[in-house]
């Protein structure tokens, strides 16, 4: 091949590449729509991102326009900054992240508006009524940690604890069970939204134990002692030195109609783990043999331990008229608290904060806002496992007035686990409102008066993401940054038998004669 011929081929290829580049990369010009008919209603979009209060640092709220149209034109604008214009040939609207961030930053504390146009088949356009979002001044903690798994019955299969950057769409594993012999992992928990102080349980197999990470120093501990079996639901003391755990004996059972799964707690207690001393302690008040205590949480000042408590039954099975019944629907938990003296580690008086007798419902999963003003909890008709209860809803207790109310964030489906942002202005909660089976994280703004605003679904790059995702988001926890410890570091500690710690029992605490009754905490025992 002569040189001239080679040059000719190379030039031809370069021109071809340029043409391809032009068509693929250079965006098409937005249409100029002067003539349109007006539709006197806002457009239907999925997810519903209309009339929200949104964080100024949230990732683009991509959505589908559920309206007829051969082409769509979307204009998002505020009083400040350049408007954001998108032309979409399909109903899928993906908002460019850079422009979105600029727009939100420039409109903190103000409204942004959405104008949506749809092109009819005859080339004419129609414009739907505009809707808006209010950009809050206060940002949300920029990461969300959660567990992903298929809706669990007997098995857990592929399980992983992941972290999602809320400012974009990056999702990374904190730890998946591909690295830990496909065991179960749960109850990831952070101290005051701090990604550097976290813990999680690994269940079953050679890696079993509780992993605690304190700024990269990871330990694995077995919290089972002569007093109780291993801890389950955790709560970090604000000082980062103690973790309160519940110890539960859970039994999975099934309903013939509605949500099939349900859980019965036969026996539960609370224990306190002192990380530095590697010691488990408790006191008679918080581990009463006559009551079942669960879901501990500390007040932000560390002076009170809140928890849920229900009277313990002698038997959970009733036999009447030759019929055997499980008394699952008669168990209701009240909200309690006990004074904790941090200076000497002693306990004070216990009192009832909100009684199930007063609410007529079971009170579960208390979490106090970091500013100490509000206590969020879930209430359901009965029981201790709100994620399986359709009746479960989010409630807020004003700690100053003692009044509780149901914020306008609930649906007729399950609302369950929730977590506050470190600035107390945002919270995330699990809701099954989408398909009644898989929980999804929803965010809501809470103003200084405790009013919660319309919640919105965790945005995804592909707005159709959830319509083909049969995996559930479990225990969403807001954190102030990413967990920087690699999954491999957790794995190596999880497998390191020599470094695994066995928690000691506080000599002041008597071993429990009924330890065996407190079955494998946190693990659902199939029946």
């Amino acid at each position: 091949m002569n040189k001239r011929k080679q040059l000719f081929i190379i030039t031809g290829a370069a021109i071809l590449l340029l043409i391809v580049f032009f068509f693929l990369v250079v965006p098409s010009k937005n249409p100029v729509i002067n003539d349109f008919s007006s539709v006197n209603r806002p457009p239907k979009i999925y997810p519903d991102y209309t009339e929200l209060v949104i964080p100024p640092n949230i990732a683009p709220l991509n959505f589908f326009v559920n309206e007829h149209g051969s082409r769509f034109f979307i204009k998002i604008y505020g009083s400040q900054g350049d408007p954001l214009e998108i032309t979409a040939n399909t109903p899928k609207v993906e908002i460019p992240i850079g422009n979105w961030k600029d727009l939100l930053n420039q409109n903190r504390g103000k409204e942004i508006k959405y104008d949506i146009f749809a092109e009819n088949s005859d080339g004419t356009w129609q414009k739907f009524k505009s809707f808006s979002n209010h950009v809050a001044s206060e940002g949300i903690d920029n990461h969300l940690a959660y567990r992903l798994l298929h809706p669990a019955y007997h098995y857990w299969g592929e399980v992983g604890i992941y972290q999602r950057n809320l400012e974009n769409f990056d999702e990374k594993p904190i730890l998946t069970n591909r690295g830990t012999d496909h065991n179960c992992m749960n109850c990831h928990s952070f101290c005051q939204n701090d990604p550097n102080r976290m813990m999680m349980h690994l269940r079953a197999g050679p890696t079993s134990g509780t992993l605690i990470n304190q700024s990269g120093n990871i330990i694995k501990v077995n919290t089972a002692t002569a007093f109780s079996k291993a801890g389950s639901y955790p709560a970090w003391h604000p000082n980062g030195k103690l973790i309160a755990f519940s110890v539960n004996q859970l039994t999975l059972f099934f309903h013939a109609v509605g949500e099939s799964r349900d859980v019965l707690d036969h026996a539960s207690d609370l224990i306190i783990y002192d990380i530095a001393k590697n010691m488990i302690t408790s006191c008679p008040e918080i581990s009463s043999p006559d009551a079942m205590e669960t879901f501990p949480t500390w007040s932000p000042d560390g002076n009170y331990l809140y928890f849920c408590s229900a009277p313990k039954f002698d038997s959970y099975i009733s036999e009447k008229d030759n019929k055997t019944d499980l008394l699952y629907d008669q168990i209701r938990y009240s909200l309690m608290r006990i004074r904790y003296y941090q200076e000497n580690g002693t306990w004070g008086k216990m009192d009832t904060v909100l009684s199930s007798a007063k609410t007529g419902m079971t009170i579960l999963e208390p979490r106090i806002s970091p500013d100490g003003n509000y206590l969020m909890f879930t209430m359901a008709k009965y029981g201790n496992f709100p994620i399986y209860l359709n009746s479960s809803d989010i409630y807020i207790l004003d700690l100053k007035t003692g009044k509780y109310y149901k914020p306008d964030v609930n649906s007729d489906k399950t609302e369950s686990f929730h977590s506050w942002s470190s600035n107390s202005r945002w919270f995330v909660f699990s809701s099954k409102r989408g398909d009644n089976l898989c929980a999804r994280p929803y965010f809501s703004y809470v103003d200084k008066n405790g009013k919660a605003y319309k919640p919105f679904l965790l945005p995804q790059k592909d707005p159709g993401f959830y319509s083909g995702f049969l995996t559930t988001y479990n225990v969403p926890e807001l954190i102030k940054g990413p967990v920087t410890v690699s999954p491999q570091s957790f794995v190596s500690v999880a497998y390191d038998k020599e470094k695994a710690l066995q928690a000691k029992l506080d000599p002041k605490v008597k071993p429990n004669q009924e330890t065996d009754k407190l079955g494998s905490a946190g693990r659902l025992t199939p029946q």
Binding site: H150, F254, A256, Y328, S467, G468
Partner: protein
């Protein structure tokens, strides 16, 4: 030209034709699909989930090609082609190293090993694809042999990294063979040592780095991912032999070259041969050729014979037919194969119900598992989640069906069967959002277009749903008042289903089967009054057999099944049964052979030898 190619490769062609026929007619790739249920979606997100870890692309390609296993002919063709290319690559590698050596059929040995491995229904296509791609890269490296050493080394390492990303574990073969090729080359010992060290460092470092970068794979998967010896299923030593085979052949050739005959001498010898010697050589060559061919086919036959598990195939085949609702085929297998597993009894009973024969023929098959062969419990349930979901779905009990289908989803992933089942359950239970989500994924699967179009219509149009008899029946049977479901007390559950819908024939027949299998004839007789609800025109044979026993035991003589007359021939047969027993003076063990021969298909035979009946007799005595 083609004729010449065929003539020169006749043995290879026959060998692979036999390989193909063995896979197609004996193994049946549809059963690989049944066993492995490979998930593949025509969706970018699905593809991208395979790109985040080494070996993912091989797994992806394997998942794609495995979809064609649904069509046994195409599936067999795919596997045979892959194995053929593996053998071809093995040959070119050996030829590249030993130009003057006779390779004969040595390159076909991997095919024999793979034949043995493919006789195991757990053997994934990804294992042979990993091997094939690694050998392809070795061949690519061989093509670089003449280039500048530094460029060659750089390209070798680059190819190694690419190969590792594509295949993960199997890339170790590339390094192995790379070492062999370089050691046998003319370069200095210093360079050889350096190359070996470099390879070892590569083999250790790359997976380690990859596991840290990827974050979603553990160290073991980083080193051994997509290698058959990393599987949870043991394939014994065969995969090791498969991977060590080429290096071992190279070592063998080297030993031969160095210690027995040198290549030069061989060439010299060729030159010195006389005409007579040439004739002798042709003769000995032909003999050798025949002997080699015979050994090849004997080895292949032995591999197939020793590794094929007929019982396992039958068990899979029963599941395959049941899943595709080919009930006649299930019963046909039950008739022709004598061995009994709990699963085969369970599926046979299911098939008998669907063929309308459960109440008249179930005791023609050995009901050795009692009620556990009807609706199993315990370990069987947890090991066969999908099957449990199937039976509850057919019974019209959607909640437990959802429960087991969800466990199947967790256990085996988003397989077509799991998605299909979850779609139907949620469609019927009114959870249309979840049903739509399942359908959205189903739409991304291959060969599902007409099914998903139909399903979308069910979702959109309730009249269309009502036109489907099977789905309407299930819908009419589903429980609507809550109670705690007790899988260990199915009688209560069958009664609840009948309370909801007295036309639930499956619940009725399964309840009656439970009573018969438990020898609880009192309860059985109480439910006979409902026979009219289910359109029986005559009393089913086993019901009549049980009724005769009941009448005999209680002394009741009047017909307690109004509207149904007793069949005289069955009464006559019962008298004969009693006579045989009387001949042996009631000694059941002595009478067993004769009763088995004459009445093995009756409820009477089942009952007198069932543990439940013996227990009752003991109590009475």
């Amino acid at each position: 030209m083609i004729g010449k190619i065929i003539k020169n490769n006749l043995v290879v062609i026959i060998f692979f034709a036999a390989f193909f026929l063995y896979l197609w007619l004996q193994i049946n790739p549809a059963l690989y699909y049944q066993q492995q249920e490979p998930v593949f979606l025509l969706d970018y997100n699905f593809f991208s989930s395979f790109t985040s870890s080494p070996g993912g692309l091989t797994e992806y390609l394997s998942a794609f090609l495995s979809q064609f296993f649904l069509f046994p002919f195409i599936g067999s063709f795919i596997i045979t082609s892959i194995v053929l290319v593996i053998c071809k690559f093995s040959k070119t590698i050996l030829k590249a190293i030993y130009k003057n050596y006779e390779i004969s059929f040595l390159h076909l040995i991997p095919a024999i090993l793979l034949l043995s491995l493919y006789s195991n229904y757990w053997f994934s296509l990804s294992y042979s694809l990993g091997l094939l791609i690694s050998l392809m890269f070795v061949n690519l490296y061989i093509l670089l042999k003449r280039s500048n050493p530094l460029i060659k080394l750089s390209l070798y390492l680059l190819l190694g990294i690419i190969l590792y990303y594509i295949t993960a574990g199997p890339s170790v073969l590339y390094l192995f063979l790379g070492i062999c090729i370089e050691i046998l080359s003319d370069v200095s010992i210093y360079k050889k040592a350096l190359f070996v060290l470099l390879n070892i460092a590569f083999a250790v470092a790359v997976p380690y780095i990859a596991s840290n970068l990827s974050q979603v794979i553990n160290l073991s998967d980083a080193y051994f991912g997509t290698l058959p010896f990393n599987s949870k299923i043991s394939f014994s030593l065969t995969p090791y032999i498969l991977y060590l085979y080429l290096p071992l052949i190279i070592i063998m050739f080297e030993i031969r070259k160095r210690y027995f005959v040198s290549e030069k001498k061989e060439v010299k010898k060729k030159k010195k041969l006389s005409f007579k010697e040439k004739l002798q050589k042709v003769f000995s060559g032909r003999t050798k050729y025949i002997a080699q061919t015979s050994v090849l086919f004997i080895l292949a036959g032995l591999a197939a014979f020793l590794s094929f598990n007929e019982k396992y195939k039958i068990s899979l085949l029963i599941d395959y037919y049941a899943q595709n609702e080919k009930w006649e085929d299930v019963v046909k297998i039950a008739n022709t194969h004598k061995f009994i597993s709990q699963k085969s009894v369970y599926q046979t009973n299911r098939a008998l119900f669907h063929l309308g024969q459960l109440s008249s023929n179930m005791f023609s098959y050995p009901q050795v598992y009692g009620t556990e062969g009807v609706v199993p419990s315990g370990d069987f349930m947890t090991a066969n989640t999908s099957l449990m979901s199937d039976v509850f779905f057919e019974l019209g009990f959607l909640n437990p069906s959802q429960h087991w289908a969800s466990d199947a989803l967790t256990h085996s992933g988003e397989t077509k069967h799991n998605l299909n089942r979850l779609f139907l359950i949620n469609l019927l239970s009114g959870n249309k959002h979840f049903a739509q989500n399942c359908l959205n994924i189903l739409k991304e699967t291959m060969f599902s277009k007409s099914l998903t179009d139909d399903y979308q219509r069910y979702l959109n149009d309730s009249n269309y749903l009502n036109s489907n008899d099977k789905l309407s029946r299930i819908l009419s049977c589903n429980i609507d008042s809550n109670f705690v479901f007790q899988s260990d007390n199915m009688i209560v559950e069958f009664k609840s289903l009948l309370k909801k819908n007295l036309n639930n024939k499956m619940a009725f027949e399964y309840l009656m089967a439970y009573y018969l299998l438990n020898c609880n004839l009192g309860s059985f007789v109480n439910y006979l009054v409902f026979l009219r609800n289910f359109g029986y025109t005559e009393l089913p044979r086993h019901y009549e057999e049980a009724l005769l026993i009941f009448m005999g035991m209680t002394g009741i003589r009047k017909n307690i099944t109004p509207g149904f007359s007793l069949n005289p021939s069955i009464s006559q047969r019962f008298s004969e049964f009693r006579n045989v027993l009387a001949n042996y003076k009631g000694d059941l063990s002595l009478a067993k052979n004769e009763l088995m021969e004459k009445f093995g298909d009756t409820y009477w035979y089942y009952m007198v030898y069932s543990p439940a009946f013996r227990k009752t007799l003991k109590k009475r005595s």
